[in-house]
Symmetry: D2
Subunit: 300 residues, 4 copies
């Protein structure tokens, strides 16, 4: 059983000015992140611009990241593809590259046509074949697909499927998934914006883009909840809403990268057709992050 | 300040076999409900089939209900209409009929065309004119409209707007509204399915259809949260998910009424074009409710 | 058989500055419209702000309009309500007020819960009871409901259901409805924006808001199609797209009313919470209408 | 100027029982298709399961297909990718493999975050770099993205962008795009279901999955329209609605492949997680196709 308790930021892929991957910046970022209270990293997810990387690039980012991530931190590698067979190939390549687990986004191009049973077959085959544990990944805002709770209930019984990153924002669905699966199946909130509510119904961790920029208050929120300090947990959750929106729904991956630039780490450009932030947006981003970073600096 | 802490079931309107309102059944239902741990009642909401009632019927239901609801329980009357002027008239009629507060659903026919400022003007004028406090009501599943959090932030400053029933299911939005408004502004979860997560971010009460059938476990959940008994709260929340779905998203108002019939209260028919449950659906409903009602009977 | 061939503008309801109905302006507008090449009028539809009128107001508008609409032009009165029983009452009141037919918008508050059979029952009962013919009305942009083509196929066999106003914009659905129903069932395009494509698959008429402002080019398009002058028809259709958007999807009912003001008829205010056009929007509207009105003036 | 007039079926990629590409079946299918009245072929589109192929597979299918497609028929190759840079690489590989043009689906994973300008930049750079003409491809049902008409207006001025395959179903948008672009920019209906309406507003061709199975009636419809035989065109369009739905919205790519099997060509399996048709669905498909194939056989 691979434990998924704690905070796992989905890190962006650094590019230089010609949009090539900047592996040196990946290293310097990781050297800083590994000093933070993080249980591990998701590499090659939505915030990693995985869809904009070639297959070989996706694998190389994982291999290089592994060199800088100690063994006591999990490396969860995005290995999703539209076809089952390609996902199986990717999962194996990621395991070879050093991933502790793979996270597989729902196939989605034909999403509206896929019945629940198609997802069950897809993930079941991948989990059968994979040499490392599999984490499901549901992110309707990008995929237009909402992995049905009944498919999750069935898939949770597979010994090689250890959990789900649920980014859909329905805490009711998180409660249902926790209630209908064994304790071994671990639900991760896909965003810091609903981490406390998700904890209240049984989530064990979080995969927050915001943790790339400010891990401490998210970690503190988790600890406050575990300590039943409900007022403090609520106040921390409240403080995360606007900063979190700035690096996710409001400004997207470009916002997350700009935030990294603003705190002295490396964000850099996004790959076209994603667009960089305008100057006014950069200022709005900075204003939103400021209160959180001040608090964060004080508490760390 | 009108306190909205606690459980406020949105009660259905009983019809006899020719779809006329059965006021006698309204009385017998209320006589039972007032013995339950409820802070008050929402009358003439979505579950009250308000849109299927004439204006005079809507008012008479409130007037008759008031006769059977003691003054220490709140009667919150649905008074929404598509136009601001009609909503003002309805709010006054409801106040005259004995309502302690009015709840105003977002106007929605032209919803996609309405900017945030239109909602601010609409609710502001109604609150200016109303002799009783106003509760906002956001229910996207029925209206196709999601009242923007920034409009709520502005409206929360109006002295005659005391809270919002938020049925949209985004606990992130609930957290944001709590964080951005004064303590006097009270947020109610619009469904039992996310009551615990909503409490965790600062909601003070709930308007759950399920409470028409099983108020005790919802009340117990609330008390468990207030007592920081987080495991018990989580288990109670888990037990509510499927029964709640059966009287809301899965079977709708007809499901809620069938559930009342199944526990020996009066549900009766819905108004056409709403359709009664099929026999298999009635059995599925009963199977879903059974565990909850058993527990509920034991604990009461 | 009531023929629905030709152009039927859905007229707005004129209000004075305090939002009361201005029946004198209704008269003066109608006196001008009846000189245009129109087969009749839809009164009390979406563009008539019917949802913002009281029940008595809705009936009085129809009664007053009838005084100024000669018998050789059809008056089709909006009589929809959320419940079947209220719709039946409204249809009878509209017939008494002088309507030649009633148009019934799909019930929609519980729309996502309504199976195809609920619509069949709803419209069937109304058509059974109505003393005047019934026209179905599908307008997903406002209702969030798309009346299923299979329900239309069944309803088209009812002797008192004579057609449908289809505003959904799927010409494929229009083609399907024409193909699957008898010739007696008449399909009307719900907008000038797809009138020619709808004619090409068998629609017989149109209910265009734009015809309140510029009926001639829409009439000319119809005649060009009937005369198989396909290039001319296409050019006319092209000329309607932007002006039509300005009085529908872009600026809504407020745009339609502003356009009437701009051509020297009476538009006047909308009822709150609908909002008046800003000055820049009024200018954009005027710019969009100008080419069409110039051509229209020349051809009439 | 590459002319796009006529019928261009988007052909499926044949797989054998282990889901490997069956190039021999591709050859036998093409040998039959080239005898039909088709202006060319779209290879590696949505119906070609391009998202389920590896990059090398996508290129090889085009190279092999070219061997069996004479030079007087266009080969339009799908070359879309999520990033601009990858799309440029793919376009060049497809040109080298023998494509006469490339068709580029809208990037979509980050679709909701992409402003109109991002699409303009994306397609502009690809068209700058491509050695063969570029066709835009808008297919909201799969992508969740609707390429804005104003972006198309700008892109249509690029000398290397020759047209768009519009599968969104809004004929109003097609009319707008035709009206707002020069005659050199060619709009193709993305489905047989709205080919006649699209022709009526200026489309010049069609990319219909149904043409893989029954090209003749679609070709006849086109000729009837060009000959201003409007009744015949309308009847042909009506006859296509249900068969077209069976190989697109109703049963998807698996339906298209099953239809090929039913007419004695090769459909074969889909790649997982797409699912094969159930036996009842196969029968429903056959029943829907039968009238069309009978007519088609008689007319050819």
């Amino acid at each position: 059983m691979l434990p998924l308790h704690g905070i796992f930021p989905p890190i962006p892929t650094p590019f230089d000015s010609d949009e090539s991957i900047d592996f040196e910046r990946l290293r310097t970022n990781l050297e800083r992140w590994v000093q933070w209270p993080l249980a591990g990293f998701v590499i090659g997810g939505s915030n990693g611009e995985a869809v904009a990387l070639s297959v070989d690039e996706r694998v190389e980012v994982v291999a290089r990241a592994r060199e800088h991530i100690p063994r006591d931190r999990l490396l969860i590698a995005g290995a999703g593809a539209e076809s089952t067979r390609e996902s199986i190939v990717m999962a194996e390549r990621m395991a070879q590259a050093g991933a502790d687990a793979v996270i597989i986004v729902t196939p989605h191009y034909y999403g509206p046509r896929l019945p629940s049973g198609a997802f069950i077959q897809h993930y079941g085959r991948i989990a059968d074949a994979s040499s490392v544990p599999v984490v499901l990944y549901n992110v309707p805002v990008y995929t237009g697909v909402d992995l049905p709770a009944e498919a999750v209930r069935v898939l949770a019984e597979h010994p090689n499927i250890v959990g789900i990153k649920e980014s859909g924002g329905s805490v009711t669905k998180i409660a249902q998934m926790v209630a209908e699966t064994a304790d071994e199946f671990q639900v991760l909130a896909g965003s810091a914006s609903f981490f406390l509510p998700a904890l209240s119904v049984g989530a064990v961790g979080c995969v927050p883009a915001l943790a790339c920029v400010a891990a401490q208050p998210i970690f503190d929120l988790w600890q406050a909840y575990l300590g039943a300090e409900l007022d403090q947990a609520r106040q921390l959750q409240a403080s995360l809403i606007q900063p979190n929106a700035s690096v996710t729904s409001r400004f997207g991956v470009a916002g997350l990268k700009a935030a990294l630039d603003q705190i002295g780490m490396y964000g850099g450009p996004v790959r076209s057709p994603l667009q960089p932030l305008s100057d006014p947006d950069r200022e709005a981003l900075a204003a939103t992050l400021r209160p959180l970073l001040t608090v964060s600096a004080q508490s760390s």
